[in-house]
Symmetry: C2
Subunit: 379 residues, 2 copies
């Protein structure tokens, strides 16, 4: 369907603007902060001698992928086949789809992709690997796969070492896949009190390494032991047996990551600009950003809906779809209607996913506009 | 930026399919249910002799707007100027922007729109109305406006009758706007126990009518008294003094609306198809729908993350970005990998907002595909 100049007005403020002049609500990405985050994680991985394969579900942005690769990442992780197709079409040759793909259409797309790039897939069941194998073998392909292990998050993944060993054995009968490693998401840390977070991250990784060793003892050539998660990264990078990390959110960081111990609020590169559009009461300011611009993602480690950069004493108390209710001080410092605010979201991945474009800034100057090419690629 | 055939694969299942054959996750709209919901609210308003101006933020779909107008709605409500522009460009001539518009760019766009269609705007401050007035007067326009009254939800709106009267008086000095009515969102009901919901809805409306009468006593010609909200609609449609209702979510309905007393789960027209992609434990099934396909919107009146149509005993216990964890019974009836499930979301507006297209079905047959034209129009 043709969409005649539907977003024409949306482009009017896209040239040479100051950040403070942008119309709101507006997603903004600060380039120096982004580059600092990319560099920090790259150095952390490099110092520890562990491979870095960032999860691109966080950013869905081609220019960010380019920057991560340029900083030394050997490839990317994605959650969706559509994301893999997007990045592969734009030159990323090494992709890990950390998600169980089901169904003939997805297996067909996977094989098409795997014929032209280095594609790994993670899953936790014989059924999924069998489907992939059948499609791949018919085309003369052998796709490297990783078994997902549930190290305690309670989502996907084989539950026990014996299950991992049994699945590995069954995979030997599947000619279109070859087992190369294990993966897990180090999710314990999201549910652990501050004093025990390091211990939780290490426990997740130690469990994965333990399963890898059991499989090696059975004769399997497990060369890739891959751990996901930003807040666990600093804790597990140097662990013996871990070969790869897949942090995603670090690239922007957000309110939750800071609460979990990753950097400071000043490191957060992705924000939402909003404007005070109503002052109904002395301590209530209503802004034009709600769940349709920030998402309704909560933070695991801190309450509330977002922080206001430069005004951490203001409290984003509630969100509707297009409204945010901000508790502010009464009196002289109270923000009048028209005041622009910059929100550090609870969850950068959720906020990014709601926007088609992001204003790329360096300090107060808008340097570029990037399309969120991966948004909406849910299959 | 050119996006060469980026979604080509996405269209492969878009012709003549059975619903059960759709690739997942996939947003689905059931046409008979949609039409039943549209008809039900139209009849409710008609029987009560109250005007119906549905809030289109729920659906953002041109074909749904057409159906609402065809069912007798005199116009639409929107939250965003971009939504107003979209619907006006496609023939909707009577639009109420129930949102305080701030800034010269938005006022300019508003005036352009108001020059060619019947546009009303709601706000609660002199500042916003003054900005609109200046832009409108310069072009020889007079824009009809409604004062928003906070009848208890605690978001936007003047707080007292005296504030409403004072604002109405100040508006008489603004040549580019003319006061025609009042609006409020009957939001109390979302926070009220079941036995007192009717009372809460009536209290919201009675408060708005009371303010309208006070303004009339001051000599203002308040002809429009407009109440928003689906769950309050049946309670307030017949109230003396209410002239218009602005329900939005009724058009699809969702898990929360049902819990609040609007219809049954069988009435819910908008669902997300998903597939079981992992069975890590006897009572745990993981599906390929998470917060990026359902949103992380909670329901105000019921816990959990969604209901599974036909399996109300299964429990959607948690969501990650691309995963949903489903508690299922162990044993023979436990869904194997590959099972398709149909999720009734907590909040239809939030789920719709994440998708570019919706599969339009009649029972099990896919009849059409609609573009979510209004998605992403956040300004």
């Amino acid at each position: 369907m043709v969409q005649p100049s539907r977003r024409a007005w949306d482009m009017t403020d896209e040239m040479g603007a100051e950040k403070s002049q942008l119309d709101t609500p507006r997603l903004v990405l600060d380039l120096p902060r982004l580059d600092r985050n990319i560099e920090r994680m790259a150095r952390l991985a490099d110092d520890a001698g562990v491979a870095l394969r960032p999860h691109a579900k966080t950013h869905k942005l081609l220019p960010v992928a380019e920057r991560q690769i340029a900083a030394g990442c050997h490839g990317l992780t994605v959650a969706k086949l559509g994301e893999a197709e997007l990045f592969a079409a734009h030159g990323v040759r090494d992709l890990f789809i950390a998600y169980p793909l089901w169904g003939a259409r997805k297996w067909e797309r996977l094989c098409k992709l795997a014929a032209g790039a280095d594609i790994r897939v993670g899953a936790d069941s014989y059924e999924v690997f069998e489907g992939i194998s059948s499609a791949a073998f018919a085309l003369g392909l052998s796709i490297p796969v990783r078994i997902e292990v549930d190290t305690g998050f309670g989502r996907c993944g084989v539950q026990t070492t014996d299950e991992a060993r049994a699945l590995a054995r069954r995979l030997t009968a599947l000619p279109g896949v070859r087992l190369v490693g294990l993966m897990s998401f180090a999710g314990h840390i999201y549910r652990t009190e501050p004093a025990r977070r390091r211990e939780a991250a290490i426990a997740d990784s130690a469990r994965l390494v333990e399963v890898a060793e059991a499989l090696r003892a059975d004769g399997f050539d497990i060369t890739e032991v891959s751990i996901g998660g930003t807040p666990s990264a600093a804790h597990v990078a140097g662990m013996t047996g871990v070969t790869e990390m897949r942090p995603g959110t670090y690239v922007f960081s957000d309110r939750d990551q800071v609460a979990l111990g990753w950097g400071t609020l000043d490191d957060c590169a992705l924000t939402v600009l909003a404007t005070v559009i109503s002052r109904p009461a002395p301590t209530r300011a209503v802004i034009d950003a709600g769940t349709k611009t920030l998402s309704s993602d909560t933070a695991s480690a801190v309450g509330g809906w977002g922080d206001i950069r430069g005004h951490l004493d203001w409290r984003l108390a509630s969100l509707s779809e297009e409204h945010g209710v901000l508790d502010v001080p009464a009196g002289g410092d109270s923000p009048p209607i028209g005041t622009q605010v910059e929100i550090i979201p609870n969850h950068a991945c959720g906020a990014l996913n709601l926007h088609d474009r992001v204003a790329v800034v360096r300090g107060e100057v808008v340097e570029d506009w990037w399309s969120v090419e991966g948004r909406g690629l849910v299959r």
